[in-house]
């Protein structure tokens, strides 16, 4: 006989059961909408924001974005609130359901007579079942074992990084081992004489780089890109190699820039070169090509000229072109061993002809770059921006240097700026003697600049005050270079002016190379290497 409670319990089972199912269904449905991930990773929002940047005055678009934002937010927070409350209601419903269900359940009185014979123990079947489980596990294990091994088998030989001390003895990049354009332990005592001169097979504006007894150069025509290796002792051409891979079409450039303007860079194991047609590649010292990549078009109004920089196992390439708004400028890093791209960041800058420079500041490596309108420093390991400072304008070509505690950057025909690294603090600014192509150099106390009219200026490093100027009756593209105690200014006509650095101008000599020169001279040990339009010269001390 069912009592009132029994009937209530039975009704409760149905009602609560239905309630639980409906609520679970509701939760499942809302779980699909209103997820936090939908709100946070909405592609629609990203697209609309992009559109707004192209049409900043579009009021309707703004309203649309606001609507969408409200919708997404409401969806998410509604769902969060619902999940919170509905979850509890669900448990409550479940409890009611269980209580009623247990109440209505009446276990039948056991009637062994109706059960028949006792069930046998089924040991044999059980053994098969157990063996079956083992078989399943074995199957899973074998499947797992068949999954491909992805780590390299052998212990690959790790390339140890090149010791800093050795690096600093060389001239492995455009502005020397520290990007500052000076070689502290090179001395070329006066008077000078030419030790050897060797014709360079193909023309180019890139500067030579030196590693121990090798000099590397690049040269190109619109039909081929080549890398050359010369011996420092004799000037003999050790090898002259075309870049591997199909050659992309040559871009349009000016005669002043040419088709081989970026200076190559080396880490003592391989030499890395990049050409304006987009080919970048590496050769080992024996001349074997290691890798080649096509970076795409490096179109740039005067022609691509940025030399790559090197940091540990990363080759850093700055590609600036066009207008900042076009967003074409970028900085990328390639793995030196394989050429694989490690990272790429966009740069909010206009086209430039400066080269990036790796410096060390506060125990941390920074990659300094200059282009209109920002000086930007990046972490060379991963491309994160460390700091940026506005202040550059027009066509930037001089590369920045770190002189003591000051980052010196040049806004051509406008100003030379001394920045405090890591901040946007401008320490000093001067508008006299501003170069338009050559980069500054520092001896630790003074900064030397060559402007387009042939004027050499000396500024104090800490204050930027002009200490002296001297007008050469000549024109210069090459950046001034410090070799030991001598400041060398190499003019386009091929005259090397030797100046003693200091608080007043003192010319200690002149030397005629005998050929037109655009590339910057490279001091190494007791020699100076100069690239003329046709020949590579090795100059040494003529004193006995």
């Amino acid at each position: 006989m069912s009592t009132f409670l029994d009937q209530l319990a039975r009704a409760g089972v149905l009602a609560a059961g239905l309630f639980v199912i409906l609520l679970a269904g509701l939760l499942a449905v809302t779980a699909v909408r209103g997820k936090v991930a939908t709100l946070v990773n909405s592609k629609q929002v990203v697209d609309l924001h992009k559109e707004l940047r192209t049409r900043p005055k579009d009021e309707e678009l703004k309203q649309g974005i606001r609507q969408l934002d409200l919708q997404l937010r409401q969806g998410t927070f509604d769902r969060l609130n619902l999940a919170h409350q509905a979850g509890r209601a669900l448990i409550g419903g479940l409890v009611v359901f269980l209580v009623c269900a247990h109440w209505t359940r009446r276990p039948a009185a056991p009637n062994p007579l109706a059960w028949g014979a006792r069930r046998p123990e089924q040991s044999r079947l059980a053994r098969y079942a157990v063996a079956g489980v083992f078989g399943l596990v074995a199957f899973a294990a074998v499947l797992a074992a068949l999954a491909p091994v992805r780590l390299p088998d052998r212990e690959p030989v790790a390339e140890p990084p090149v010791a800093d001390a050795e690096f600093r003895q060389q001239w492995p990049a455009f502005r020397g081992p520290t990007g500052a354009g000076n070689a502290a332990n090179a001395t070329v005592a006066l008077p000078w004489r030419i030790r050897w001169k060797t014709p360079i097979p193909l023309p180019g504006m890139s500067s030579p780089i030196i590693w121990s007894n090798s000099v590397f150069l690049t040269g190109a025509t619109d039909k081929e890109d080549r890398v050359f290796r010369f011996d420092t002792e004799t000037g003999a051409l050790a090898w002259s190699l075309t870049m591997a891979g199909p050659k992309p079409p040559a871009p349009k450039t000016t005669d002043d820039t040419g088709l081989a303007a970026p200076t190559p860079v080396t880490d003592g194991r391989r030499v890395y070169a990049i050409f304006p047609d987009g080919l970048a590649g590496a050769f080992d010292f024996s001349g074997k090509p290691v890798w080649t990549r096509n970076l795409g078009s490096l179109e740039n109004s005067y022609g691509y000229a940025a030399s790559p920089a090197l940091y540990r196992d990363r080759l850093l390439i700055q590609i600036d072109s066009g207008d900042p708004a076009e967003g074409q400028s970028r900085l990328l890093a390639l793995d030196t061993r394989t050429g694989r791209q490690l990272w790429e960041v966009k740069r909010p800058v206009a086209g430039s002809w400066t080269s990036p420079v790796v410096v060390e500041w506060n125990g941390q490596a920074q990659l300094l770059t200059c282009a209109t309108p920002f000086i930007i420093a990046y972490n060379p390991l991963n491309g994160t921006e460390l700091w940026r400072a506005p202040g550059l304008q027009d066509d930037c070509a001089p590369s920045p240097i770190l002189a003591g505690n000051v980052v010196v950057a040049v806004a051509p025909n406008n100003a030379v700026i001394g920045m405090q690294p890591d901040t946007t603090n401008e320490l000093w600014r001067t508008s006299e003697g501003v170069p338009d192509a050559s980069s500054p150099v520092s001896d630790g106390q003074y900064i030397y600049l060559l402007d387009p009219n042939g004027m050499l200026s000396c500024l104090r490093q800490d204050t930027g005050k002009v200490v002296w100027t001297h007008a050469f009756d000549d024109h210069f593209y090459a950046s001034p270079t410090l070799a030991g105690g001598t400041l060398i200014c190499l003019s386009r006509k091929g005259v090397a002016y030797q100046v003693a650095p200091g608080a007043s101008y003192r010319e200690i000599g002149r030397f005629e190379v005998g050929e037109k020169c655009n590339a910057s001279p490279v001091p190494h040990g007791k020699r100076l290497f100069v690239r003329g339009h046709q020949n590579l010269f090795c100059i040494e001390s003529g004193a006995q």
């Binding site: 089924q122 063996a131 489980v133 091994v149 780590l151 790790a158 890591d422 946007t424």
Partner: protein, 412 residues
């Protein structure tokens, strides 16, 4: 490590308003007292469960205790900290000297085992929130045929082996990752886990305690301890009259009937089988060791460093395009990949060794189980299986001796 120049912009100077920088509150952590309280509650609940199951023999008491456990250990503590997971913490603490295991976790791991050595699996009866939850939702038990029961139970042993080696090699806590009931206690979780929880809960309405019987790794340990317990669950309070009334009372297949009188397989046949299985045992163990060893490399993928190393290798060889966040972070450290590969290889070897141990365990367990299924023990009475009985006290009311003890009418 991503080091950035922190102070790009200098600190502000509030010259006009003299504005004070606001502070902010850091919400406190759950007080240590409450952690200790959990252990105390656990101890009291264990004692109560033992008393209710063995002394008072009261199913109703156990049900109420079970409800309390579901509420306290389940919904209030969100099912975490739990004894099942503590196996992993202990395994990790034993293998990694850098890991500082909380004392609470040790207590949660060891207390129920010590109690089981004396009183059987009373923890499972009404203290474990997972067990109590499954027990409470069991409405229409469906009997699982014994052969299937024996087979599926082996999965719990395999799970135990895997959980221990994953935890010990630093590959993560798989018991926690794949726990079906914690999403229900938390009322949240990712879709897959919530669905699994619901499936287990619904299945639990018909199949009694599916997680406890077929998957729970802690249950394996408790079962081993309960095997040698001092006091056990006895269906009858006095003696068994083989009336068969309790035969279908246990929804968990944990009641062993008295052995049939009647035609029994010849002793010779049994001896032959025993000999074969004894000889098979070392073969099974060796196979297990080999299987574990070959799957070690795949097992290692549970480990973060191995994953990153494999990804880096794939990217370096051009086998995949694009990159992952983890690979990007690694490359940003500037560490040469060779160092990472060396560490990853060491971890792989570690996993291969651990896999071999797990394989040994599985081979051994399967071999011993096969032997146990061949040995026929004479059972004069209906008894609760010591390893599998979870002391839920359902069977008591079926026994006429019990009904007599309680002064209730005995059915005809």
């Amino acid at each position: 490590m991503i080091v950035v120049a922190a102070q790009r912009f200098p600190p502000p100077e509030f010259s006009e308003t003299g504005h004070q920088l606001p502070g902010f509150l850091a919400p406190a952590v759950r007080a240590l007292f409450f952690e200790r309280l959990d252990v105390a509650v656990l101890a009291v609940a264990l004692a109560l469960a033992a008393w209710l199951a063995l002394r008072q023999r009261s199913r109703r008491g156990l049900v109420w205790l079970g409800i309390f456990s579901v509420l306290y250990f389940g919904f209030w503590r969100k099912g975490c900290i739990c004894s099942i997971g503590s196996i992993q913490n202990i395994a990790l603490a034993l293998s990694d000297s850098a890991y500082a295991i909380p004392v609470t976790v040790i207590a949660f791991g060891l207390l129920p085992l010590i109690v089981a050595l004396f009183f059987g699996r009373v923890f499972c009866a009404a203290v474990c929130p997972h067990g109590a939850l499954q027990d409470l939702v069991l409405l229409k038990p469906v009997t699982v045929p014994p052969w299937l029961e024996h087979g599926l139970r082996m999965l719990a042993y395999v799970y135990l082996g895997l959980a221990v080696i994953f935890a010990a090699t630093g590959g993560g806590f798989i018991i926690c990752q794949y726990d079906p009931f914690v999403p229900i206690f938390r009322l949240s979780g990712n879709t897959a886990m919530v669905v699994t929880g619901v499936v287990f809960l619904v299945a639990g309405i018909f199949i009694g305690r599916p997680y406890c019987r077929f998957l729970c790794p802690y249950g394996v340990l408790l079962g081993l301890a309960a095997r040698v317990s001092k006091w056990r669950v006895r269906v009858t309070p006095t003696t068994c009259t083989q009336c068969r009334l309790c035969e279908q009372s246990c929804p968990f297949n944990a009641l062993n009937p008295a052995t049939l009188a009647g035609p029994v397989r010849t002793a010779a046949a049994t001896k032959r089988r025993l000999t074969w299985l004894l000889a098979l045992l070392p073969v099974l163990v060796a196979t297990g060791v080999w299987l574990g060893g070959v799957s070690g490399t795949a097992l290692a993928r549970n480990n973060r460093l191995v994953n990153v190393a494999e990804r880096i290798q794939l990217e370096n060889t051009g086998a995949v395009t694009g990159t992952t966040d983890a690979a990007t972070v690694f490359r940003a450290t500037g560490t040469p990949p060779e160092e990472l590969f060396t560490v990853a290889r060491q971890l792989q070897h570690r996993n291969i060794r651990a896999g071999r141990w797990a394989g040994l365990w599985v081979g051994l367990v399967i071999g011993l189980k096969l032997l146990a299924l061949t040995v026929r023990r004479q059972r004069p009475d209906y008894e609760a299986d010591q390893t599998r009985c979870v002391a839920c006290a359902r069977c008591y009311r079926y026994c006429p001796e019990e009904l007599k003890r309680l002064g209730l009418p005995v059915p005809e």
